[in-house]
Symmetry: C2
């Protein structure tokens, strides 16, 4: 058995966020679904960018945000994802490496430019996202570094990988390598509409044991089981997933394993500035705790703390050391 | 006489800021001059970027920040500056236009990439800047839109334009057009080390009447007259400049015109997060007031208010409507 080199390795779409504040009117005018993520092509990206106010660029990508959070807690972390060799690809690579994450996926020399997510943040702190996948579209099974995956205690995969054509094969390959090396595989359901696009395949992943741990929020689990009733969805999830964490925004989260349920509270936040990355950073704290062998409740509290940090400012990456924050809050020594 | 189309037109280096928090140790280790702006080539830019933590990209450029501030107060504003037709040039163009500024300078099709300023923000909120001018290097007199300048009540020029080889000719051309149309010309001294590089030429601009209004801070006016004594510098400035505004950080500012001196206070700020853009936004408020025909003291208060807004967050562009902020503070109806 290979020795453990990484606590968590993430596989996801490598994206730079283009973030601007927006009024609700703008969303209505452009027929946008508040709080969701929509995939767009380059022409629609140009339209949306034209409609947006002055913006800022901050590296993003769901699993990438999670992995940066894991590194910020002080764990060993790696990321696999595809950018282009262009200025925004350079920004993505700089930011993730500067956060202490190993990132060795070769950038594309040609083809579409580095992926971008246009994030509109309304006054209530909610984010509405439109993603041009760009180079992330071209993640292939050959981009999987077998040795890196085999030497990671947990491999973390985002549901958004089901959108690009070959990324799901990369996902399956990584999951197989991880299990062969007797490692854990975690999946995030990413977005309720993403679940809508890929429901059957996600259910199959969960039921067939490809995934050991599932992360989702209320809307995603309801979408997965096509029910408006949360309890019905949870009962179904309990039967399907070996282990699942369901986040419920200010209501905290549930950790479900067989008949057992652990409930953990959210951390209070003075003012929600931008919810982008809340789920990603929750996963970061939980995965970090899991890699350290903590009890689920402590891991959930670490997740809640990281989520509280990221929603208190613009952008989906932590602005402070999560390790120091966890120490201040008595969750780490 | 052409009718007035713009209240303020700015001419400057078109730059995207790459902003990261940094410890003082990093500045010491890399031999950086805290609080200053240094010019760098692409190789040094790569070195500095490698040494920086995770960053965010926000459009910048000294005069560009000022002009965006002027537009945020609700005035008609235009900007002339050179980017390349590349992703960061696209970011710069989007952000300035989305702020309501007319920006029609054609981007370079080839040559160096869009200019970048690497901004290191230390825990005290001070910023240390390293600028790769890139495409801004190629601003030429032919980029001056004669009609736009002639129809702007005030043409505002940044001292940094003395660094690129042909930009000073563009500057002189714009100043001549403005004066021919009986408009006002304002200049910012930009940075004490920039003054050090171009002292004689800046003094000549001020003494020969090319400039009607000079903006500077304490360090810059002391550098201009090569004296450590502030009062000596102010006495010399009074003899040379038809009109000058000297900003003194938390001590407020002086407006000097012949024997007359007006003193205006700074606005209190809860916590200084990032001083980048303080001088740029002070100039925005003052120029806006001047364009509206306000008394100097009211214009200075508008400047102080805009500076207070910009130093309370990361980045050198306002995050809120300066018009609304001025109304809340009783400076505008």
């Amino acid at each position: 058995m290979t020795s453990i080199r990484y606590d968590v390795l993430g596989l996801g779409n490598a994206i730079v966020d283009v973030i601007a504040r927006a009024d609700d009117d703008l969303l209505v005018k452009h027929g946008m679904r508040k709080g969701s993520m929509s995939l767009i092509d380059e022409a629609r990206a140009a339209q949306i960018y034209d409609a947006m106010g002055p913006a800022m660029e901050i590296s993003g990508g769901s699993a990438a945000n999670t992995i940066v959070g894991v590194a910020s807690f002080g764990a060993r972390a790696a990321f696999i994802g595809r950018v282009k060799d262009d200025p925004l690809g350079n920004v993505f690579g700089h930011d993730i490496r500067a956060a202490g994450v190993a990132f060795d996926t070769a950038p594309s020399a040609d083809g579409p430019s580095t992926g971008r997510c246009y994030v509109l943040v309304t006054p209530d702190g909610e984010r509405t996202m439109h993603t041009f996948l760009g180079a992330a579209q071209d993640l292939h099974p050959r981009d999987i570094d077998d040795e890196a995956v085999a030497s990671a205690a947990i491999t973390y995969l985002e549901g958004y990988l089901w959108d690009p054509p070959h990324a799901k094969e990369a996902f399956r390959k990584a999951a197989a390598i991880a299990h062969q090396a007797q490692r854990q595989v975690a999946l995030s359901l990413s977005d309720a509409f993403c679940v809508d696009r890929w429901r059957d395949e996600f259910l199959h992943l969960v039921r067939s044991g490809v995934v050991d741990l599932l992360f989702c929020n209320e809307a995603e689990v309801r979408s997965l089981y096509q029910t408006a009733d949360f309890d019905t969805a949870i009962a179904a999830l309990r039967g399907d997933a070996p282990r699942a964490v369901v986040t419920r925004s200010a209501k905290g989260c549930l950790v479900i394993e067989g008949p057992q349920t652990i409930v953990a509270p959210a951390y209070p936040v003075d003012r929600v500035v931008d919810t982008t990355g809340a789920g990603d950073l929750f996963a970061a704290g939980f995965l970090f705790g899991m890699a350290r062998g903590f009890e689920d409740e402590r891991s959930a509290r670490l997740g809640a703390l990281a989520a509280a940090e990221v929603i208190s400012h613009l952008g989906a990456r932590p602005e402070t050391s999560l390790r120091a924050l966890a120490q201040e809050n008595g969750l780490l020594k």
